[in-house]
Point group: C2
Chain length 202, copies 2
C-alpha cells in the first residue's frame, strides 16, 4: 500500500502493529479518526495513555488494578475464604463474566513450561503460598487450562499447598453444556465417562 | 463484560468505539499494549496525535496532505494534463495501488445523493472547474462507482466540464478480469455485451 502522506503512513503502521489488525483495517481506522473531530482522537489517545500510565498490579492477587489493591480484593462482599487460581487476567475476566463465583483470585501470570523456559519461580506461586499461610483461605480452586503445562502447574501448586492444610480443588471438566456428544473430542468424552457423577433429579 | 479496573474499561471502550472492533477484540488490544513497554503505547498515541493534528487537505486536489499541496500534486513526474476524479481518498489509494495511472487526481468528497441531502455544492466540483479553466488539463477521467448516485454525479460534472473544451472519459466497465461469466450480475454482463470493443490479437 502506498500513501501520499507520511503522517497517514505512520498512523496506519501504528494500528497495523497491533495483533489482528492488517494494513487495510488500519487504514480504515485512520480514515475513521480523520472523519471525526480532533477531540475523538484526543479522547482515544488520552484513554490509552491514562490506562498505560495508571494501571498497576494488585499487591494481593496480581490482577490489574487502578490502585494498590484491585476492586475484587477490596470488595468486602467477596468470600475471602475462597481463592481461584488462574493463568491470566483474561481467564479471570471470563470467570467474572459467568457471575457464578464470589471468592477472590490469584493470577499466576502463566503456566510452568520447560519448553518456553518458564519455571515456578517465574510465576506468582510464592505470593499464593504466603496468602494461604495467613490462614483465612479455606479452599484454593485451580482454574487452569487442561493442557500438559496446565496439569503440571496444578500438580506443582497442589504439592506446595497441601502441607498448609488448605483444600485444593480443580474446576469440573467434561462435555460442554449444549455440546453434541459426537463432536466432543475423544479424551474429553473418555474422561467424562470415567469421572461420571451421581445423577440428581431436580 | 465486567472490568475490575476503570482505566482498562475506558481503554477498551475507546478501542471498541472504532469501526469493526468489538469489545473482545478491544480487550485483546488493550492487554497487548499492557504486555509491551510503556514506550509502545507512547509511540502509538504519538503517531495518531501527529496524524490528526498535522494532516491537511491538499489545496489543489483535496487529497490528504502533510503540507499545503499533496505529494501527488507536487510530483513533477506526474502527467499534469490528466485528472482522475474520485469519490474518496480510499478510491484514490486503490487506483494508486494499481500503478497504472500517472496523472493527477481530484477528490470530490462524495457523490450527489438527494436522499442523503448531498448536493453538488457539498462536493469539490467548483474547484475542479477552476482547475480545468486554467487550461493545462486535457482529459478528466471519471472514476466514480457505477451506482445511481455515481452516474448522476458523472452526468452533472460532464455537463459542467464539456463547455470548457476538455475531454471527459469514464473508467471501463464490464466483466472483471479472472471472473466467471456465469457469476457476473445481469446488468454488468448485459452492458458488457452492448458496449463490446473490437478484439485486437496481441
Amino acid at each position: 500500500m502506498t500513501f501520499s502522506s507520511k503522517l497517514i503512513e505512520k498512523a496506519v503502521e501504528a494500528f497495523a502493529s497491533m495483533p489482528g489488525i492488517g494494513r487495510k483495517s488500519a487504514l480504515r481506522l485512520v480514515l475513521h479518526l480523520l472523519k471525526q473531530d480532533k477531540s475523538t482522537t484526543e479522547q482515544f489517545t488520552a484513554a490509552l495513555t491514562a490506562m498505560r500510565e495508571g494501571i498497576r498490579e494488585c499487591r494481593v492477587c496480581h490482577n490489574l488494578a487502578d490502585s494498590e489493591v484491585c476492586q475484587i480484593c477490596a470488595d468486602a462482599r467477596r468470600d475471602r475464604s475462597l481463592v481461584c487460581v488462574v493463568e491470566s487476567i483474561r481467564d479471570l475476566m471470563a470467570i467474572e463474566e459467568t457471575s457464578q463465583y464470589r471468592g477472590l483470585y490469584h493470577v499466576l501470570g502463566g503456566v510452568i513450561s520447560p519448553i518456553e523456559g518458564i519455571g515456578p519461580s517465574d510465576l506468582h506461586i510464592e505470593t499464593l503460598e504466603e496468602r494461604v499461610k495467613q490462614g483465612e483461605i479455606r479452599e484454593v480452586i485451580m482454574a487452569i487450562s487442561p493442557t500438559i503445562e496446565g496439569e503440571t502447574t496444578i500438580y506443582y501448586i497442589s504439592k506446595k499447598l497441601r502441607p498448609l492444610g488448605v483444600q485444593v480443588s480443580a474446576i469440573a471438566r467434561g462435555v460442554a453444556f449444549g455440546g453434541d456428544l459426537e463432536y466432543a473430542d475423544e479424551v474429553t468424552l473418555g474422561r467424562s465417562i470415567v469421572a461420571r457423577v451421581p445423577y440428581e433429579a431436580k
